[in-house]
Subunit: 588 residues, 2 copies
């Protein structure tokens, strides 16, 4: 036996008990004839006390221990003379009778403290030491709780967790697949799933009714800061449902997770059309923790300022009571920020409603009276500042959306510990891509149009097709997309039509999705679903920003696991068995 209790368990009521603890040495402190060790395990820290006079051998052994040594001790629980109110075990200590060193440790390359001195790269390479730190450990525990509560909730609501295969078939549509050569089928390859999308639809055809799975998904994309080649989805599908059933069910799940894991009671989730979200916030995942709603400003036209008069669209927002917060330099900075290629705006118009005067970058073309009138119309008055962008409508809205977030960050307008969930609904079904000269599915090619828009699928007019709304929905919390889904097409003809609009030939559609189209011929029920990003859900719920923190063994930006040093080269023999060989570019 290695322990009778954990290092987070003993209290003042345990005083006098004979106990055994095991764990890691957080720190050794020597004070004259006494030594103290803070002993740490997953559950907490308990102070061990050694007295040279009472027990010289144990005390000497304690003095040999270095940081992160693994030790086991037995002794008696006693009340501490100087208590530590910041620690649950802070009222007691262990008067140690015997100490055994179970394993030694080299000096760790960074401190195992809440605030470590180790940089990210070092901590990733020694992830096993990083995970010993409270903030990382707590995130793993939180993730476990979220997954467990999700499973309990969905199971109570008659969902079945059904495992779908990881070795599937490559489909060129969408993101790039990871592929796996098949040894037994030379020249052929499996692909790792980007999501179990087709399988969960197949399960609905199979009559399974309510399916879920917490499942790994894979995308071989160039990695951005917050993207991982493998990530985890809470993947769900229901049959015999309409959009409303799905929104209700998963609003319920979300509320239950917030209640059970954070003790936060969320109100009913508001809903917003995609068009409205774009029009008011320039984003399909608006952050509603702060205001800064957009106003349409074509009313500014007709004063002889050609840039405005000729603009396709003009949008702006009012920042209340912050006129004084923006110096000329600030405004120049912001203009430069907007002009960066990531944003791509041409410039920034502002109107500062000072207590004395109105200052504006368009003061030449609008007199104070006109600006005051405009302010009255859009709710800007003394002390406020208005920012305005103009140009092509879609671009302008997106630029202003990014700008809105930047202003909120700079002005600290985003409150902490506040959650603003929102269903964004009625997404467009199709997105025209100028480069490819074809439509792409905004959600995915199995998404159903809204019943009212179904007839438009027969049109060949690009504007009509662009206006088709999908039965698609995203769950957004605090400006992050937590989940998304849609009602699926369950009719083979409509699905074929959709593939046709998306530019698939009959043969391509058959080759890639033939099994799904085939299944639709044997009694497919109406169905729909949703998938949540588990990594992101955890991140947002705890008010953090990096999903990587919630992954036990994440990969870096080049897809490497620096701890195990993967990927790596493999034996020639393995390649031969798989009927492949390397074809490296010798020059770049």
């Amino acid at each position: 036996m290695y322990r009778s209790h954990t290092c987070g368990e003993l209290r003042i009521s345990d005083v006098g008990k004979s106990v055994q603890l095991s764990g890691w040495v957080q720190i050794v402190r020597n004070l004259g004839g006494m030594s103290f060790i803070d002993l740490r395990d997953r559950y907490g820290i308990t102070q061990l006390a050694f007295n040279m006079e009472e027990n010289a051998s144990a005390c000497e052994m304690a003095r040999k221990c270095g940081r992160e040594f693994v030790i086991s001790v037995d002794g008696i629980v006693r009340e501490r003379s100087s208590k530590n109110p910041n620690r649950t075990t802070g009222d007691i200590e262990i008067a140690v009778a015997n100490l055994t060193i179970l394993n030694e440790s080299q000096v760790p390359p960074f401190t195992i403290e809440d605030e470590s001195d180790g940089g990210e790269e070092l901590r990733m390479r020694y992830r096993y030491l990083d995970i010993r730190r409270n903030p990382v450990k707590e995130k793993m525990i939180f993730r476990h709780q979220i997954a467990l509560e999700t499973r309990k909730y969905l199971s109570e609501h008659h969902f079945l967790e059904i495992e779908t295969p990881y070795l599937i078939k490559s489909t060129p549509e969408g993101a790039r697949d990871f592929i796996v050569p098949s040894r037994m089928n030379p020249g052929q390859f499996y692909a790792l799933p980007q999501s179990p999308q087709t399988f969960k639809q197949i399960l609905m055809v199979a009559g399974m009714d309510r399916y879920f799975q917490i499942v790994r998904c894979f995308r071989d994309e160039d990695l951005r800061a917050d993207r991982q080649p493998e990530f985890t989805q809470i993947d769900c599908e229901m049959a015999f449902v309409e959009q409303e059933d799905i929104l209700q069910t998963f609003e319920g799940l979300t509320k239950s997770l917030f209640k059970n894991c954070l003790n936060v009671t969320l109100p009913d989730f508001p809903r917003m059309d995609y068009d409205e979200a774009m029009e008011l916030y320039g984003s399909d995942k608006p952050d509603l923790r702060f205001d800064l709603k957009f106003v349409e400003l074509s009313r500014m036209k007709g004063k002889g300022f050609s840039i405005i008069d000729q603009a396709e669209s003009i949008y702006g927002f009012v920042v209340k009571d912050k006129e004084a917060a923006f110096s000329n330099k600030d405004i120049n900075d912001l203009t430069e920020w907007l002009k960066r290629p990531q944003i791509g705006a041409k410039g920034l118009i502002y109107i500062k409603f000072g207590t004395e005067t109105i200052k504006s970058s368009i003061g030449k073309f609008y007199n104070d009276q006109e600006l005051n009138d405009l302010g009255l119309e859009i709710g800007a008055s003394s002390g406020d500042i208005v920012f305005i962008l103009l140009g092509e409508k879609d671009k302008t809205l997106k630029q202003l959306g990014d700008f809105r977030l930047e202003i909120a960050r700079r002005l600290n307008l985003i409150p902490e510990g506040v959650f603003k969930p929102l269903w964004v609904v009625n997404f467009p079904l199709l997105e025209w891509n100028d480069e490819a000269q074809r439509f792409f599915a905004m959600h995915h090619p199995f998404t159903s149009p809204l019943p009212d828009d179904k007839h438009k699928m027969q049109s060949s007019d690009r504007t009509t097709l662009s206006s088709i709304r999908a039965a698609a929905y995203d769950l957004v919390i605090n400006g992050a997309e937590i989940g998304g889904g849609s009602i699926r097409i369950h009719d083979r003809n409509l699905q074929s039509k959709n593939f046709e609009i998306l530019g698939f030939s009959k043969e391509e559609a058959e080759k890639q999705f033939g099994f799904l189209l085939g299944a639709f011929e044997y009694g497919a029920p109406p169905h729909g679903g949703i998938a949540f990003g588990l990594d992101r859900l955890c991140t947002i719920m705890q008010g953090n920003t990096s999903i990587r923190d919630y992954i036990a063994f994440p990969k870096n930006n080049t897809g490497r696991d620096t701890m195990i040093d993967a990927p790596s080269s493999i034996d020639e023999k393995q390649l031969t068995e798989l009927s492949i060989q390397l074809k490296l570019e010798t020059q770049k």
Copy 2:
């Protein structure tokens, strides 16, 4: 809305209610002016009644429906005139007011009944129809329950489910890896995990204490009937434990699964040494549902029968009261069965203790008195038959073990609905391989020797090394290995020694497991674990034999998913991006 109730929900107490149901048409029956549809969903079957006089339009619509059409109906629940006591909904039917066909269906290629007329290949290709059948559906539901109960139990016992990566590093030791080319790291490859073994040990070093994961594992092996390239493990690891803690914990889990999912109360699990299991049953996973224990028979030597006198070992077992069940032809059949290359025995000796006479294949060398005396010693008397094999000890025991199972099957000695769990313990640490002229790890290279045998690791004598017992254990139920695990080595030096015995050079060990060896230098706690095969656990618990039935989308013996037709060829462009090309053998 598509339904107010499911097809398994309505009872006599619901009579008079206005309801809406949706599901699949199991069968349409037309009786004069009446039609009946059995409507099926995941939850059951409800009878729908249509009356041509009362509602001609609905009735005509009903007569248009074919098998597996998806329909939605509303109507009133009424008591049936002729009840069906075999169905939970058999007291009622729905007097249908309206019927809507939601989707038509082609005639399915096999019947959607408990006993289908479809062969396995056809059912796999149309797995979405196969899953609609009760026996398949029920297996998916059972699997879901087992997984959920496992998670609840382990979470209540402070285990954390932590996800480990699927894109890891290839290690030549053990089975063959599936590999995944890395696009971003040309010439380098990930491997899919055969198990999260090293990661779970890393998590123990990371202080996570009690880990589990229900996780997919991958092995690129030639497939036998009951093997899948991807399979699911309940993977567990604990720190600060000894073997006894692990056995107790997972005996508890197993009992709880049997209780909660089968309502079966298992007694405490007996334990048996590996050596004893081999000596008594010729198997490290003995089926204890029937007896047929082996007896060692070297006492037969010394009667001048050279085959026996010169045999390295002689073993046999007594079949009580079955002497008459074996004709000469039966014994010839059994002898042929034993001589097949899969078994490889040289021949079979029998002694039939008839009521009148003793008949034996060795009657020439032993008189009746001698055979009677032998019978007395080994508990065989009138009416019994004794089977005896001889030869090299290990081979003979294994052959007799297979023979024991075959006799039990032929004589129907295996009772149904009985569960005989058993811990097999004290496995050998090392297994000598004559072909490779080296030791292999019997369990895996991280397994610890028993404390008492640790000193033998320093020996270079093959017999001494072969005699080292491991702190390894298997959970066996009804002759199937349900789970297995071990206490791990947590000392870097001992681990290095083990790699040395296994013939790894320092460089190879470093290259393949350097990160684990490195982790062991930073305070690795004593730890150990176990992994259960989820697919097999479900199979054995329900008294079945094929794990494939418990996998929603299994692969066939050549690793193909015939439903989605994977693996398949991929675009040249994909290969180029991955810096690989095909190298097919043109001739075979």
